[in-house]
């Protein structure tokens, strides 16, 4: 009997995650074009999905069933049967939020990079900034309001930080040299509860270097509470008329007590 109970409990415990999973069989995908000088067509499982996709573009998020996807990228208007310029098999897990990026590696060769975006909850009042180095450029530092945010970021690497929501001056500099500013965003807005993802793309030597931005909202959490009183005025006590009637009742009791005492005395 005891064993049966244990089995039942174990079964019930196994059922809980299964139900939770049933609600999120989809994943979310965003596509970023970071290969300069090339307009492309993007095929997903041999179907033309993005046509004449231009350098620097970030798509809206697509919701797709969790599965493996063949991503082929061809120069725009190429024969769909032709050899793709870039190809990648991408696995999209359920509930994942991914970005597929065509970008340059550190030597300037095009490639496909798959990023998993951090969509965990963000504390009330904060936003999240993600910086991804996907340009043909050496190591960089990222400064926010002239303070170091991420240091020594290499091509293919990212930095993720939760920061108070607001506007930030963001500079990308050569690693270790704050004066060697590669690019500067005077006011990058990091909205509350939003992951703002900044991609450095292009070729620093070839004048095509620029930034692309994706943002994922809805990651907010509520404040912990609403502290709105320290005076104690509300509990200053009972109304005056009630206190007065207490006094009168008290006097009546006292009078009665004195009478009793006299009788006995």
């Amino acid at each position: 009997m005891r064993k049966a109970m244990m089995t039942l409990v174990a079964l019930m415990l196994m059922l809980v995650p299964a139900t939770a999973l049933a609600q999120t069989t989809d994943g979310t995908v965003t596509v970023v074009h970071g290969v300069p000088g090339l307009t492309v067509d993007v095929y997903v499982n041999d179907a033309l999905t993005l046509e004449d996709f231009e350098y620097g573009t970030v798509t809206d998020p697509l919701t797709l069933p969790a599965a493996d996807y063949d991503i082929d990228i061809r120069v725009a208007d190429s024969d769909p049967a032709s050899e793709p310029a870039l190809t990648e098999l991408v696995t999209l897990p359920a509930g994942a939020n991914a970005t597929i990026e065509a970008n340059l590696d550190g030597d300037g060769a095009p490639k496909i990079t798959v990023w998993v975006n951090d969509i965990s909850n963000i504390d009330a009042g904060n936003g999240r900034v993600t910086v991804r180095h996907t340009a043909a450029a050496p190591l960089v530092d990222i400064l926010a309001n002239d303070g170091a945010l991420f240091s020594g970021v290499a091509n293919g690497a990212e930095g993720v930080a939760d920061v108070p929501a607001g506007d930030y001056n963001v500079k990308v500099t050569a690693a270790g040299d704050a004066a060697a500013v590669v690019t500067e965003v005077p006011a990058l807005t990091i909205p509350e509860g939003t992951n703002v993802i900044v991609y450095a793309i292009g070729d620093l030597a070839g004048d095509s270097f620029q930034l692309a931005v994706q943002s994922i909202g809805g990651l907010h959490t509520p404040p912990a509470g609403v502290p709105s009183g320290t005076g104690g005025e509300l509990t200053n006590g009972l109304p005056a008329w009630l206190l007065a009637s207490f006094a009168v009742a008290g006097a009546a009791f006292a009078f009665g007590g004195v009478q009793v005492a006299r009788q006995r005395g």
């Binding site: 005077p186 939003t194 943002s215 912990a224």
Partner: protein
């Protein structure tokens, strides 16, 4: 002996009657159906993965065909996400509750270092949770103010506990429009049980949520143990507001 008995009886009667009158005349802490408002705000409206956020449109960047200066000057791309600093088209500036004689300026409020909502230190001001919904947007627009403050005395929401279902609440916005609400429910939550997910929901029906402190007061902590919350719903814009409801 007779007079002693009479005195005792009179004392007991007086005590009983006055306590009874007091208990009956006291405004009850709760009124209206707060649970259904809470429920409506807690019901997910969109798919659970990533709710769409219209204020954070994806920004496409400056045209890549633009010739870059050849001497590798830093580029200065412009990014703008959303219209208002917090993505709101219009924000509340004044709150009026004629039934309890409140007319108070509304200031945007964020989050304290400890993760709680910022409530204006000036007890005659009302804080609007700027990261959440604004009045007129989907979800719960939260306006919070002090019931009182040590050293400042009673605050602008001292009488919030007296707002009754049906009372009119007016919110003036910075575009010179006024939204009219009708109080739907008043309730008291133990601070540990405050349904923050519902109260600060950014989706669902349009609700105006007024929050202050109440309940028992802990003198050593200088803190109340509860929150008084009034939920209000938008009045049909066509519905007239009678002159007596105007301050």
């Amino acid at each position: 002996m007779k007079s002693a008995i009479a005195a005792f009886v009179a004392g007991v009667l007086l005590l009983g009657i006055s306590l009874g009158v007091w208990a009956l005349s006291r405004p009850s802490a709760e009124a209206g159906d707060a649970a259904s408002v809470e429920q409506a705000l807690s019901t997910p409206v969109t798919e659970p993965i990533t709710p769409p956020t219209p204020s954070t449109t994806i920004t496409s960047l400056p045209d890549s065909t633009q010739p870059e200066p050849s001497d590798a000057q830093p580029t200065t791309p412009q990014f703008t996400i959303g219209v208002h600093p917090e993505g709101h088209n219009r924000v509340p500036v004044t709150l009026r509750i004629p039934a309890i004689g409140v007319e108070a300026p509304v200031k945007p409020a964020g989050v304290e270092a400890d993760g709680e909502m910022e409530v204006p230190g000036n007890v005659s001001e009302v804080g609007w949770y700027k990261y959440g919904s604004a009045p007129g947007e989907s979800g719960s627009a939260v306006l919070a103010a002090h019931v009182d403050l040590a050293g400042s005395g009673p605050g602008v929401f001292f009488d919030l506990r007296l707002v009754e279902p049906g009372d009119i609440i007016l919110v003036d916005l910075d575009d010179d429009t006024t939204l009219t609400y009708r109080a739907e429910a008043r309730t008291v939550y133990d601070k540990d049980d405050l349904p923050t997910e519902a109260i600060f929901s950014r989706q669902g029906p349009q609700i105006l949520t007024l929050v202050t402190c109440g309940g028992g007061f802990n003198r050593s902590l200088r803190s109340y143990d509860s929150n008084v919350v009034v939920y209000a719903v938008p009045l049909d814009e066509a519905a007239p507001v009678s002159p007596k409801d105007r301050l």
